[in-house]
Amino acid sequence: MAAVRGSARRRLPFWSWFWLAMAAVYLLVPLYSTLQFSLSVGPHRYGLGWYSYILHQAQFRQSFLLSLRLAVETVLISLVLMVPTVYWVHARLPRLRPVIELISVLPFVVPPIALAVGMVGLFQGVPWLISNTHLLAFAYVIQALPFTYRSLDAGMLSVDIATLTDAAQSVGASWRQTLWHVILPNLRTAMLASAFLTIAVVLGEYTISSLLLFNTFAVYMQQVGTSQAYAAAALAILSFFLTWLAMIGLFLLSRRVGYRRAVAMTR
């Protein structure tokens, strides 16, 4: 029996490593191939030429900054809209949870092209609005809704929201004070996860921005991809790097805000 257990123990690490290696190969080989392709500046010659080329394109900077701004706007609108909604449903209207859950997955069912066409139809009589980039953020809020809702829902489920709310109110806190001082600090991780996913959705979104004729980062990538293969590979690697940079920046910012809150509480 002991021998059988011993052999099972010896075998387990091998299979763990095997599947980990398989996952790494699946994820890293395309990335490595793209990186190698993007560094190719001639037959058997490698350099950063394509990166330099991309970074000097004004359209790259404009499209990336537009997408980044839209990502920030989308994150803010999503959190302002969804945190109180999900909180209220958990604290006082748990029976509505299945309904909200169903609404949250609608963006998976309705294709982005339908959303874009619908928006064009709805706002075509309002030219200043249809040409306003901020409009995209509202469309992205809908696109990111499944991720926002699920992250926040999971965060709310991980703490006893109803009891914490009752406890805060029993000592005299208003709804606003309860949400701000008691609930939000417990949702930091959930809000961060929601923000990460939203940024990823916004930076990669192509259909809506393309149909509404906005030059977002994804649209620019597509344009480069159709004409310059090496530059497109360099752009793909850059976008990968910049997306991670944006997420790390958000993470550090949230830690700093969390630290400030903790310090403020002790004052």
Binding site: V159, L164, A167, Q169, S170, V171, V182, P185, N186, T266
Partner: protein, 353 residues
């Protein structure tokens, strides 16, 4: 100190009546426990008092003033919950200070107050710990300190000890009672544990089906239950069906064995339930002088050791009876041995079946 009054309270959840026409008075500085089985509506009453639920009908009055429409955060009632309810991202001190902080109390004042109430629950040395660094008993003591820090008019406790182990439960309940007595704060305590309710309460309200069945001191309720539910819910009781034979006797059990209950006051021929507390059943093993032959006899069937006393089951002509005997005496009562049984009339009551 404040008095609390509930008048004709009714609350339904869909078709289920949680509270039905309930009246209750809690005097200034009194500790009243709501005691009842699960689902009897006791927590609903407490949540209505706290302002978390609105009654369908009836009034809640604090010092005579109707507070039905006052929101929970303006009622000035501290509450300790059944579930651990400390704010996880705040230390014990920050939790305790929170009620003062939302009231805009100055930092130094609330710091002094937090130290004072944490000392009251003997946790001043744990002030900077987070809830996950505290044991269950310590968390509930911090919750008590948090509920007291802003000097509420009323303290509400919703089964605060149910998540704790037996030894800690006894310690914390003694602490709650001591603090409540020292501060003289009007308190409503919800529990399903009768030992807990009886040990700390001035008055106990027994609840069933959304109504108060009886309210009184623990001794009154134990000695003079007002109905069958209360009698059977409180403590342990032997219940026999019988018929009144005459003014001093009741014929009970399958063979109509006479049980002496002098001056019971029920009419002859009336069907009654005979309720006998186990401590009123006395066992006699002395077979000399024919003691066994003069009264009820039976055979010991089981022993249940409960510490200082042992609960002994006896098979008698009245049916099975339980008797509480000192554990030292129980050691001498062998299983299947014949014993004489005497029922003390003082521990016996008759009720409508």
């Amino acid at each position: 100190m404040a008095s609390l009054e509930i008048q004709k309270l009714r609350k339904r959840f869909g078709a289920v009546a949680a509270v039905e026409s309930l009246d209750l008075c809690v005097g200034s500085g009194e500790l009243v426990s709501l005691l009842g089985p699960s689902g009897c509506g006791k927590t609903t009453v407490l949540r209505i008092l706290a302002g978390f639920e609105r009654p369908d009908h009836g009034d809640v009055r604090l010092d005579g003033k109707r507070i039905n429409d006052v929101p929970a955060n303006r009622r000035n009632m501290g509450m300790v919950f059944q579930a651990y309810s400390l704010f996880p991202t705040m230390t014990a001190r920050q939790n305790v200070e929170f009620g003062l902080r939302v009231r805009g109390v100055a930092k130094r004042v609330r710091g002094d107050k937090a130290t004072e109430v944490l000392s009251l629950v003997r946790l001043q040395d744990h002030a900077d710990r987070y809830p996950h660094q505290l044991s269950g008993g310590q968390q509930q003591r911090v919750a008590l300190a948090r509920a007291l820090a802003f000097e509420p008019q009323v303290l509400l406790l919703d089964e605060p000890l149910s998540a704790l182990d037996a030894k800690v439960r006894v310690e914390v309940r003694q602490e709650i009672r001591a603090i409540q007595s020292r501060l003289g704060i009007t308190t409503v305590y919800v529990t399903h544990d009768q030992e807990e309710a009886f040990s700390i309460s001035d008055q106990v309200a027994i609840m069933a089906a959304g109504q108060v069945q009886q309210i009184g001191t623990p001794a009154e309720i134990y000695r003079a239950p007002c109905n069958l539910f209360v009698a059977e819910f409180i403590g342990t009781v032997n219940r026999l069906e019988g018929t009144v034979a005459d003014q001093d006797n009741v014929a009970a059990g399958p063979n109509g064995t006479k049980v002496k209950i002098p001056g019971h006051g029920w009419p002859t021929g009336a069907a009654v339930a005979v309720l006998i507390r186990p401590e009123a059943v006395k066992i006699n093993t002395d077979t000399h002088n024919g003691a066994l032959g003069h009264g009820l006899t039976g055979q010991i069937t089981t022993h249940m050791f409960l510490g200082a006393i042992t609960r002994v089951a006896i098979d008698t002509s009245l049916g099975p009876l339980m008797a509480d005997v000192p554990s030292e005496q129980a050691l001498m009562l062998a299983l299947d041995s014949p014993v004489g049984v005497q029922i003390e009339p003082g521990g016996t009551r008759l009720m409508a079946p």
